[in-house]
């Protein structure tokens, strides 16, 4: 019983690999929304969920442009760029938000490694920009202060 079950799994696995190999590369790279990473409330768990076991390291080649003091936490402009070659994805994490992962942009070669977006911040927080390239994750972090107010204009 035990043996045949294992064997069946093994055969299933072989069939699955065969099916994968038969598919064109573009379909192999088909993207799926990393929902678990978005749903995670923990910074580390979210990163782990997004990148698996890839090594994650700080890098000054990841350029994160974000305001020191956000005009408004509801609309914080963020620009992430890098000169690292072969970028697969660029992600934004707001460490102190209830769900830290904010956005995950998946790039192809046709696009320059520079993305601008606007995010919500519930409170002051480190903002982390993560770049996935060549089997590694590179990141840089910037502290963004969020204040509450109402007399601009």
């Amino acid at each position: 019983m035990e043996i045949s079950s294992t064997r069946r799994s093994f055969i299933k696995g072989l069939v699955a690999i065969g099916a994968l190999l038969a598919l064109p590369a573009t379909v192999l790279a088909a993207l799926v929304r990393p929902s678990a990473a978005f749903d995670s409330k923990e910074l580390d768990a979210s990163i782990k969920s997004l990148f698996g076991d890839l090594p994650v390291e700080a890098s000054d080649r990841v350029n994160l442009k974000a305001p020191e003091i956000a005009e408004n936490g509801a609309v914080v402009p963020i620009t992430i760029s890098t000169d690292i070659e072969g970028v697969e994805s660029i992600s934004v994490i707001i460490e102190n938000n209830p769900n830290p992962l904010s956005a995950n942009f998946n790039l192809t070669d046709a696009v320059e490694a520079k993305i601008a977006t606007r995010v919500k911040m519930g409170q002051s927080s480190p903002v982390r920009a993560l770049v996935k390239a060549n089997g590694k994750v590179y990141y840089s972090t910037k502290e963004v202060k969020v204040t509450i107010g109402g007399c601009g204009g």
Partner: protein, 105 residues
């Protein structure tokens, strides 16, 4: 294909197209309460946006609830020419979707 929910601007300079998009969407987090009734306003946010160039998908964005209301995105296409098309299509967590396309100048 034209859809008022998506505004796209694209400009070609030295063979590179700078593209900026603005999508009209509430991006509700699901944690806000209605000020009058006190009831939670259900989460309503864009989950996926696909940007394409001449019909090829070139950038796929996955978003959570913390992307700002009326989401803005900007990026550049490495090799583009006037007359090329740039399209955006989005879907949200309720299954709603929108799309628009422009011709680069």
């Amino acid at each position: 294909m034209a859809d008022k929910s998506v505004k796209i601007r694209g400009k070609v300079k030295d063979g590179v197209a700078g593209v900026k998009t603005l999508i009209s969407h509430p991006m509700e987090t699901g944690t806000r309460r209605n000020a009058e009734t006190g009831e939670l306003i259900p989460a309503h946010y864009i989950e996926e946006v696909v940007f394409s160039h001449n019909g090829n998908d070139i950038l796929t964005a996955y978003w959570g609830t913390s992307v700002s209301k009326n989401p803005y995105s900007a990026f550049s296409i490495k090799s583009a020419a006037p007359g090329d098309t740039v399209a955006v299509r989005w879907t949200d967590n309720t299954g709603a979707s929108g799309a628009n396309e422009i011709t680069l100048k």
